[in-house]
């Protein structure tokens, strides 16, 4: 039997009670009640600490979920929905023709193609490209990271124009995403939150033997605790650094900020190659955030931030 047919038939074994439960449309709360709920959530957020108040109007940690096999969080950010006419003529024309020019050899090329002013990071621009990248800068018009574009979807109406690039900074692979949401993005959806990061598991844990062989010694879950704090960037914006803490105490970080309605996302993913000294990922994330500046201020902002001692 073909896989496709098997999938369809196995779904037939789902509990009939669940099938019945999905037979009738859900009733949504009236708009006034939903607005009341949103206001209540805002009040709860405002009873947090002072630094939480600083980030309330910028970027904040949204909904989180964590289980043995799946953990994720959303980011809530005050972003603008750009009209397509605000992007470059070339990008608009390519969108209308159904295909974006996605590969760009330089920051300037990508910037000209997007057509919307963006903050620049000389530190990242001048760093080596991350492995697996096909071009220094990639521009795509897709849905957010964990959504999928299905066949037959309407072309030329992306929810966001996204600029993505990967670099290696101090032996750490860094992934950067710059999100420009468009008029086609659902405002309620944006208000509710965009996907931050997700972890899927469980994953197997191995021990490497003296002969280089690997033996599985256990299985780890991806249950995470999420927390966030504000960070005052060198350019004056306030970022939010989200900390994801695993059960074994290991932490990873994502820095997010909004500038002129554009959402920037900086992720220090992991070591590019084995090393005896592991950098402080949190300090690196802060350094990366500080490296962003309007182009004319790029050099001044960078000059005090290039010392390797800043890592530790």
């Amino acid at each position: 039997m073909k896989d496709e047919e098997r999938m369809l038939e196995w779904m037939s074994y789902v509990d009939p009670a669940l099938v019945e439960g999905a037979a009738r449309p859900r009733r949504r709360l009236p708009r006034a009640a939903r607005a009341g709920l949103a206001a209540a959530c805002l009040c709860l957020a405002m009873t947090g600490s002072v630094w939480a108040m600083d980030t309330l109007l910028g970027v904040r940690l949204g909904e989180t979920e964590s289980s043995f096999g799946y953990s994720a969080y959303d980011i809530q950010a005050e972003v603008e929905r750009f009209d397509l006419s605000q992007f470059s003529g070339d990008l608009q024309a390519d969108l209308a023709a159904g295909e974006l020019r996605w590969a760009h050899d330089s920051w300037q090329s990508a910037l000209d193609y997007v057509g919307v002013p963006l903050l620049y990071s000389a530190l990242l621009d001048e760093a080596a490209m991350g492995a697996g990248m096909n071009a220094p800068y990639v521009v795509d018009g897709t849905l957010t990271a964990d959504q999928e574009r299905l066949p037959g979807e309407e072309a030329g109406r992306p929810e966001q124009i996204r600029l993505a690039f990967s670099r290696v900074v101090d032996n750490v692979v860094v992934a950067v995403y710059i999100h420009l949401y468009t008029q086609y993005a659902d405002p309620e959806e944006l208000a509710a939150g965009v996907p931050g990061r997700a972890w899927i598991g469980p994953y197997k844990v191995y021990r490497e033997g003296p002969d280089g062989s690997r033996t599985q010694v256990g299985q780890s879950s991806v249950e995470m605790e999420f927390a966030s704090r504000g960070y005052e960037m060198a350019c004056g914006e306030t970022a939010t650094i989200v900390t994801a803490r695993e059960a074994n105490g290991q932490e990873s970080y994502q820095g997010c900020f909004v500038h002129d309605g554009v959402l920037y996302e900086v992720n220090a993913i992991g070591l590019a190659s084995k090393a005896n000294v592991v950098p402080d990922f949190l300090k690196l994330t802060e350094r990366l955030l500080d490296s962003f500046a309007p182009p004319e201020e790029g050099e001044d902002a960078l000059s005090s931030l290039t010392s390797a001692e800043n890592l530790i």
Binding site: L8, Y13, L18, E20, P25, Y70
Partner: protein, 182 residues
């Protein structure tokens, strides 16, 4: 008429039983069949088969959840007809492809037994999800609604619906791995 009363009519072999079932559930059954088969003449053939199958199945069956039972009869009949006729509604193929990554790809004589056990596992997973995610998943992968139809059913935007479906599939895969299915 309640579902319990419909089952009772069938048990009593009353001629009006099928008429009452169709009065209550024909549009719903037709929608399930149409999503899988596409063509109206195939839908009609499927439903005719289903009423006949229902009459023969009850008794001895006495389903606690009659609507769900009926839905499964229609769905299975439609899938069989689809295979026999070689007709494919695009949305069904797409839905199956989306799910392909989540479910085990084993083959063999034990498949039918595995199917029921897998169904129980998937059912437990769905019970642990929020109502919205559970409904979205079932509308897309059991009822074979398109993503747009699923969004409309829930009162959601299409992007939110896609996001929820994607996350739920990933969670299902992780759950089935944890349970040893993958």
């Amino acid at each position: 008429m309640t579902d319990g009363e419909l089952v009772e009519l069938l048990w009593q072999r009353r001629e009006e039983a099928l008429e009452r079932v169709q009065e209550k559930y024909a549009p719903w059954c037709r929608a399930i069949a149409r999503n899988i088969l596409g063509r109206e003449e195939d839908v009609e053939e499927c439903l005719s088969d289903c009423w006949f199958q229902l009459w023969n199945a009850i008794p001895p069956a006495r389903p606690v959840r009659f609507q769900g039972y009926l839905g499964a009869v229609v769905r299975n009949r439609a899938l069989l007809l689809r295979k026999r006729l070689g007709r494919r509604a695009d949305t069904v193929s797409l839905a199956a492809l989306e799910l392909a990554d989540c479910l085990p790809a084993r083959e063999g004589p034990e498949e039918a037994v595995q199917g029921e056990a897998l169904g129980r596992a998937v059912s437990q997973f769905l019970r642990d999800q929020g109502e919205g995610a559970r409904t979205a998943f079932l509308r897309r992968y059991w009822y074979a609604d398109t993503v747009e139809e699923t969004a409309r059913f829930l009162g959601w935007s299409v992007p939110k619906t896609k996001s929820v479906l994607s996350r739920t599939r990933k969670k299902l895969r992780a759950y089935l791995e944890q349970e040893g299915w993958l």
